[in-house]
């Protein structure tokens, strides 16, 4: 007989599971023309973009490279580059 079954885990698994490795494209925050509109922060499906005062960056442990931030940025301050080693 196997051991009693663990049917749940401690919360916070979204942080534990680093899904950034799924990425094939990486956002490049150029920090040239940022107008502090924070649209990139709002539209990021992973909620992994943080920052303030015209300086924003994606947490690459979780960013899956979807490119929505780059597409939505009104001043074209975010480029997408292939994820290559």
């Amino acid at each position: 007989m196997s051991k009693p079954i663990q049917i749940s885990v401690a919360p916070g698994t979204s942080k534990v599971n680093k899904t950034g490795s799924w990425r094939t494209m990486r956002p490049i925050f150029k920090h040239d023309a940022c107008n502090d509109c924070r649209i990139c922060v709002l539209v990021c499906p992973d909620a992994c973009i943080t920052g303030s005062d015209n300086v924003y960056n994606a947490n690459l442990d979780y960013c899956k490279g979807c490119g929505i931030c780059s597409h939505e940025c009104p001043v074209n301050d975010i480029d997408m580059a292939p994820e290559v080693k």
């Binding site: 079954i5 698994t13 599971n17």
Partner: protein, 399 residues
């Protein structure tokens, strides 16, 4: 107390005695009376449970999933299209290891639309990870409920149970059924106290993401538990016998099997008809017997081999079919004896689909027809002109 009641009412009475905290179901023929009776119990204050009216079977299954995750003993019931609509959630309930009990009043599946009995509905969810039990009569169907909760809630098991009872044939039949006292059920089935459940006091995560590095392990554990639960199903049936004096078999049951040479294999209410048929055959000197498959998942192949060690011929009679392959139970029985030292001849007959009557004469014909030969996938009692030779039950090409 012994009462002459409808099968659905007997089930509702036993569900009530199991003290479920949450009941959610959507009415569908022939399951309707079960949920109707339960809602009446709740309305009358006889059952202190949350009864949730839901918009569909998908909602009903989702409610009992969530309720069970909070540590509530949860019950639902459905059939046919309703079971299919629950499909996605059924896989989730098993994957989450939640000991929900759902009663399926077995009915066939559309199209063409047909509300009558066969086992096509249950067979569609056989790989979902649920324990699947089949009841022979109303007393057994009712008594399966406390047994099902006891099996599923075992901390070493944590599995949901699908109780199958033949629609109309059992759900709408009036039979004398012994309804236990509340105290007796309370002694047999302690309150559900899961080690882990959803509560704001100690937040936990159920059903998290399992990446490729982990998913396979969760499936392996499900496989392992289905092996582990086999003795638990047998022991629970034995414990029930000790407490209540009633026994219908554990994983399997047998009838006049000791010196039998040719054995019927079946599930559900067909067993009752077969018992009469076997008595008739025995009176004529035939060494006939019955192997009743009570637990279809897990499939008790070891137990079957153990009790059928020297049986010469097996006649599988079943109410389901896997199109493009064959009779489901027929092929599982053959698989159970694959590469074994003793290999009985196993014939398979499909009958009673969509509620077609199965009189004893049909079963005696099937018994005589398969004597000494292997017949496969034979649809029995077809209308003239449908199959090339319905009387001889033309085997389907390929097997």
């Amino acid at each position: 107390m012994r009462k002459l009641i409808e099968g659905s009412m007997a089930v509702a009475e036993l569900v009530k005695l199991c003290r479920p905290n949450v009941v959610a179901a959507y009415p569908i023929t022939p399951q309707t009376h079960i949920v109707e009776n339960l809602s009446q119990f709740v309305a009358d204050g006889d059952l202190k449970a949350e009864f949730l009216n839901v918009e569909s079977e998908f909602g009903a299954a989702s409610v009992v999933l969530g309720a069970s995750a909070t540590g509530a003993r949860s019950f639902s019931t459905t059939t046919s299209q309703g079971l299919l609509l629950m499909g996605e959630v059924l896989y989730n309930i098993a994957g989450l290891r939640l000991p929900v009990v759902i009663t399926c009043a077995n009915r066939t599946i559309s199209a063409p639309i047909n509300i009558w009995n066969d086992h096509s509905d249950a067979m569609t969810v056989r790989d979902a990870g649920w324990i699947m039990l089949f009841a022979e009569d109303n007393q057994e169907a009712a008594d399966m409920h406390p047994q099902a909760y006891k099996i599923g809630e075992d901390p070493n098991i944590c599995l949901p149970v699908l109780i199958n009872m033949d629609g109309f044939i059992l759900t709408h039949a009036f039979e004398p059924v012994d309804i236990p006292e509340q105290k007796e059920i309370d002694d047999f089935l302690p309150p559900y106290r899961p080690a882990q459940y959803l509560t704001v006091k100690d937040p936990r995560t159920f059903g998290l993401l399992a990446e490729p590095q982990w998913y396979m392990e969760t499936r392996y554990k499900l496989f392992e538990t289905h092996e582990d639960v086999k003795p638990v199903i047998d022991k629970t049936a034995d414990d029930f016998r000790v407490k209540f004096g009633r026994y219908y078999g554990g994983l399997i049951d047998t009838y006049r099997l000791d010196d039998a040479e040719r054995v019927f294999v079946a599930m559900g209410s067909l067993i009752g008809t077969l018992k009469d048929v076997v008595d008739t055959l025995r009176a004529k000197g035939e060494k006939a017997g019955i192997l009743k498959i009570r637990s279809f998942r897990p499939f008790p192949k070891e137990k079957i081999r153990e009790v059928c060690g020297d049986i010469k011929e097996m006649i599988v009679v079943e109410k389901a079919f896997s199109f493009g392959f064959g009779g489901v139970l027929q092929e599982e029985m053959r698989a159970a004896f694959y590469r074994q030292k003793h290999q009985p001849i196993i014939s398979g007959f499909v009958l009673g689909l969509g509620g077609r009557d199965i009189p004893p004469s049909t079963l005696i014909n099937v018994y005589n027809r398969s004597k000494g030969k292997e017949i496969s996938n034979a649809f029995v009692d077809l209308r003239p002109g449908v199959a090339p030779d319905p009387k001889s039950a033309q085997p389907i090409k390929g097997r």
